[in-house]
Amino acid sequence: MLREQFSREKLLKMLRKMIEIRLFEERVERLYREGKIIGPTHLYFGQEAVAVGVIEALDKDDVVISTYRGHGHGVARGVPMKAILGEILGRAVGTCKGLGGSMHAPISVEHNIPLATAIVGSGLPIAVGVGLAFKYRERRNVATVFFGDGAVNTGAFHEALNLAAVWKLPVLFVCENNLYAMYTSLKNVLAAESIAARASSYGIPSYVAFGNDVLEVYETTSKALEKIRDQSGPAFIECRTYRQKGHGGYDFGTWYRAKEEIEEWMRRDPINMLTERMKAKGFITDEERKKIEEEVAAELDKVVEEVLSSPFYDYEKLPSLVYANPP
């Protein structure tokens, strides 16, 4: 099962990223429960393989548009955890100086994440524009946009897919189908055979990947990227995955989801799945994994401490951030 082309190094890198996301979110969850995070926060537990699989396959000059459930995208892209956590805790060290908060925490122009939107679906048309600029400049880069299953029913989704297809733009649409939008099961709100099938109706090459399998996500993304470059047009990936926790920090995700369903998906935990494969291949031992976890945990201890003792941004400076060219 383990693809030959993945070197141990590559796999270790992906594993580590996934562990970073997991442990990062554990801290966020704890800080939330301790009342240290004020405002909403949406956790990425269980979907780590999507962020890592997609983003590892991208070029660093590709642009990523993220969402309110974007901590994992930021970590996967290498945005410093201190800056992401700083943003979640509203501090001046945050990616957005604390003006954005958890829902915009991955925004980092330096890492080519110019937007993480809190409005479901609204990132898609913006990604189309990013792709338009790439095409116009004859760059071989791709605009990648993440969104959930719930976004598929928005008008913005439709206009974006149609326009990207008509203009043949290099846009990679990545749907993280975790089966629920808040407490609503996809099957009750989507009138289509599947999300990927809906995307196909725009003539867009569409793929389904098991979103808990980071290698499958990576390979599907690579295939889609090739397609985008060959056909000079968009591609679409539906990653079937699951959020292991509730919709937001306040939700435990239980009343609207069957215990068996949750348990089944917990058994298919993306980090464990990759670990098992690597073990089978002799690429890693339990001790080595533990060591990675300890390293990451130590780093996070430091990050949490530093952020918690760091100041808020100076309110008096806010007016100067409204316009780039004030009159």
């Binding site: 405002g39 509203g90 003006l99 939008a181 808040m182 808020f312 941004y313």
Partner: protein
Amino acid sequence: MATRELTYVEALNEALREEMRRDDSVIVFGEEVAAAGGVYKVTKDLLKEFGPKRVLDTPISEIAIVGAAIGAALNGLRPVAEIMFFDFVGIAFDQLVTHASKMRFMSGGQVKLPLVIRTQYSLGRSYGSQHTQFLAASLLQAPGLKIVAPATPYDAKGLLKSSIRDDDPVLFVESGALYVNRSYYGYRGPVPEEEYLIPLGKADVKRVGDDVTIVAVSRTVSEAMAAANQLEEKGVKAEVVDLRTIMPMDYETIINSVKKTNRLVVAEDSVKTGGISAEVASHVCEYAFEYLEAPIVRLNSPPMPAPQASELEKKYMVSAEKIVNAVTKLVK
């Protein structure tokens, strides 16, 4: 008859329940309003009592939610649709402004549209700039629409019931801060057991005073009431006027108060530029100029998006303290 203490959320829930019992043309739909009973529990247990034909969860499709409300109202029902955050009304702006508000007029008065869109704004809850907008001022350009924004449980119940019975499209704006923040005057309050209605289009003098008029609406009524208490200690008697209905606005009550106090502070959660306060102040300046003994002061969010960090958001928002300071300067 008896009066209980209810929260803002409970009062809204009771209003929906009573109107649904009274009139089977009232139906409720929106994101998470049925099985979940609303993300803030305003529609709690309605599904249980009224069943899935009358209480429906929707996809994330704000255009279709408002559109469906218009269509249902055109065809004999009295839909009460929910848009989860006021910000998302922006997605359905075309349906609300370019359709709902104009359809009666542009049909020469043929159609009526008895619909309610319930929504809430979350300023004061650190939700950041895409989830805290109080966009009522952006809708003042849409006459034909009514905009209602209650500040207490009592008003919430009476106004929601009236909105449902009204034959015009009503945007019913709730305050997310009043849902959850126990420290607010408007979080919990007395609500009679017996049925009552509060007429749309009437402001409410929430506190009587002679020295200055404070016009407020929704969340800022709690701030204004707190400010009035503090001012009283300093010997200043503030009159607090709660707009309750933002459009059509009850100019008469405002002007009567200003005629008495000769001073006006408007304190509300719009961004200052083109806020509701601009309409209040400019109206008074045009039609009651001679009664003014001082400039009209507008207290609003400053002209920038809302910062997310709660420390910063607090400074950004209208507060009792800011009102006290402004009034103190004004009456000096």
